[in-house]
Each structure stands twice: as C-alpha cells, then as structure tokens.
C-alpha cells in the first residue's frame, strides 16, 4: 500500500477516535520568566510535514529486516512501519540540550528521582508533577521487579540543576525547591503483577505536608487519538545518568509509531530518563501525552496516555 494511501486511511479511520480526545490542563503558579528553556519547544507538525517525514523514513528503511508491532486503528489494522535492525539509542548525533535554568516553567515541574530499592540498590529516574503532591513516572521506577518490589524510598527533587547533593533542609541553587522523600506510590496490576511493559507507569505521592506541586506547577494531560499522535513533534526532558549528576536535558522529535498503549520516537535518551514526561506544546499549552520508559532499536518508547491511563491519572492527580 502506498504511504499516502495509508496515511489517508489512518486519517479517516481515526476521525471518530479524535472526537474522543481528552484534555486536562496544567497549572503554572509562578508568573514571569521565559516560557522557553534551552530551545523553542516544537509545535505540532502539519499533515504534509508528517507525511514527508514518514516517506523519508520509509526510504531510509527500505532494506530493513525486522518487523514488529501492529498499528491498530479503530478496529482494523494497517501495516506497521518496517523496523530496521539498527543498534542505537542515541540516534545519530546526540541532540540533547542541557536545560540551563530549571526554575522556569515547565522545566521546574520535572523532577530528578533518587530511588532506593528494597534490596538497598540505588537507581536514578525522572518524574513530572501532575498535581500538588503527585509525580508521574514509569512503573519500573517505583516497582522494581529485580530488586524486591516497591521502592523503599524515592527522593523527589523538582527542577534539580546539578550538584552532588541537596541541603538537608531548605533550598539551594542546585535544588531550587528542596526535595521531598516519598514512600507512597500507585501503579497498576499490569505492571506490578504481570510485568507488562505496556502498563509501565505509576505515580509517586509526596507527604501531605509537602505539596511542592503548588510551587512548581504541572503540565496538563492529554489522551490524543492515533491520528493526532502520528507525526506529532513532541518534547521530553529528564535526568540522564551519562551527563553531570543531577542535570536536566531536553530533546524533541517526531512520534513515528503508535500502538494502543505505546508511543515510539527518536528522541535521544539514556538511562536515568525513565519516567520523563513526553509532551505536546501547542498554542502555548503543554500536555503530557506519554511517559518515557525504554530505549531500543530503532525507537525509544513511552507508555501512551490512552483512555484508561488518562482516567487513572486524572483520578490520582489530586490524591
């Protein structure tokens, strides 16, 4: 099937789905300062741009060997993009850009996570506020199957900007909003019981007296249709382990494949960026549409905010 024909088929098929999109707006309590960080965030691609990108991509993968995943659209299936057998997580040049000022919105809503596993091991991850004391992240940041289950403690540091440690109380230039130690989490059975990466998402609930979200704000949430997601240029920012400790790095790229529960893109990522928000910036509004979870070949991936994820998050955000 020709790529253009496929695209038109997808557009037609998701028209009904598009009508069911759900949006929950974010909150930015602090006025002033640039809304932009290291570079202008990207807006939605036009369909023409998306099609050009898809055609370019298809040209690139003409000699591909592997096929995985099915793009399901409103009850029927179309052929998935063919997946080339390439072996990079950083796709080509590393395009990540350091966020210099993490005290402006939305960068301050993004959190460095220091995770203490039940067996004593330490991990680094990323999260993002979605409510006054609720931080969205990956399921594997709070429930670690190889390390004994639920994290013993997670230190949540909004807008961290380097430094080896935060002061035990108050704020500092590298921990501009201090931190909160959390021991309460919520995830779903699909991840906790079934170890299914399609359900790899969770929230961290901060202590009731540490509603740091009221200070830093949060981005909104969006459950977008497949038609809106394919080709969409999205942003992600997090705390990779291969960069100076506790520094935040941003990147953006297009969504190249979508399933009912996953998003795939070539945003450059590394270990430590699990749980990073993947968001759309459109008409001055930011809405998280996925939670970064995995590096892979050829795509990196996120848990998609679909109907049930969106409904869960809306229910959890005001815990």
């Amino acid at each position: 099937m020709e790529m253009r024909e496929r695209w038109l088929q997808i557009e037609a098929a998701v028209e009904e789905e598009t009508k069911k999109e759900s949006i929950e707006d974010g909150h930015s309590p602090v006025k002033g300062g640039s809304e932009f960080g290291p570079a202008p965030e990207v807006d939605k691609m036009t369909p023409e741009m998306a099609l050009a990108e898809a055609e370019r991509f298809e040209e690139v993968i003409v000699e591909a060997a592997n096929v995985s995943g099915i793009v399901e659209v409103s009850g029927f299936k179309v052929e998935p993009p063919t997946i080339p057998d390439v072996i990079e997580i950083i796709h080509g040049a590393d395009d990540r850009v350091r966020v210099g000022n993490t005290t402006v919105y939305p960068w301050r809503t993004i959190c460095h996570l220091e995770i203490a596993a039940p067996n004593g091991k330490a991990y680094i991850g990323t999260g993002a506020f979605i409510g006054p004391r609720v931080v969205l992240t990956a399921g594997h940041c709070v429930y670690l199957h190889a390390d004994g289950g639920w994290a013993r403690k997670i230190r949540v540091i909004p807008g961290r900007n380097g430094g080896s440690s935060c002061p035990s109380s108050g704020t500092s230039s590298v921990c501009p909003y201090g931190y909160a130690d959390a021991t309460q989490y919520t995830s779903v059975k699909g991840w906790v019981n079934n170890k299914d990466s399609d359900y790899d998402y969770a929230v961290i609930i901060l202590p009731a007296n540490q509603k740091l979200g009221n200070t830093v704000g949060w981005m909104g949430l969006a459950n977008l249709s497949m038609g809106s997601l394919l080709g969409l240029n999205v942003n992600s920012s997090g705390y990779p382990g291969d960069k100076p400790y506790g520094t935040q790095w941003w990147n953006s790229n297009n969504i190249l494949a979508v399933t009912g529960r996953r998003l795939y893109y070539r945003i450059d990522t590394m270990g430590g960026q699990s749980g990073s928000p993947v968001w759309r910036y459109k008409d001055g509004q930011r809405h998280i549409i996925g939670i970064h979870t995995t590096g892979g070949s050829p795509y990196n991936g996120a848990t998609r905010i679909n109907d049930d994820v969106f409904n869960n998050l809306v229910n959890w955000k005001n815990l």
Binding site: K121, H140, K195, G272
Partner: protein, 75 residues
C-alpha cells in the same frame, strides 16, 4: 546463576533494568553501576545492550524470574 536470553526491553533507569526472554520465560534483570559488560571478552558499554540482542548473564537470583547482574556477555 547463568542465564541466556534475548533482550526484550531496556528500561532506562540508571543503572539500566532489562527484561529478557530466556528458554524458560521472561526474566527481569537489574544492573549494578559496576556490572561488567563484555563482547567476545572485551569490555563493552551499557549502550550496546539493545532490543533483540542475545546476552548471557551471570548474577544472583533476587526473586522469581529476577536476577541481579554481576556480568553480561553480549553474544
């Protein structure tokens, strides 16, 4: 314990977590910061652990179908 399998997912915490498909099912693997990663006996980087890559892991059982990796050989 030593198991062999194919990488299914690379979870991007730091250090990484993996799921691999072995002969007797899906395993979850936790790496240490000092987990030794090798290819044909030579040191390799964590970035070389990718989906679809076959690996052998020496490590400690940490739960049902769960392992903490002391070393990983890229096969």
């Amino acid at each position: 314990m030593r198991i062999e399998g194919t990488v299914v997912e690379v979870y991007e915490t730091w250090p990484l977590q993996l799921s691999i498909e072995a002969a007797d099912g899906l395993y979850h693997i936790g790496l240490h910061p000092d987990t030794k990663i090798k290819r044909r006996g030579h040191p390799a980087g964590a970035m070389e652990i990718k989906d679809h890559v076959r690996i052998a892991i020496d490590g400690t059982i940490s739960g049902p179908k769960a392992l903490l990796a002391d070393s990983i050989e890229l096969l």
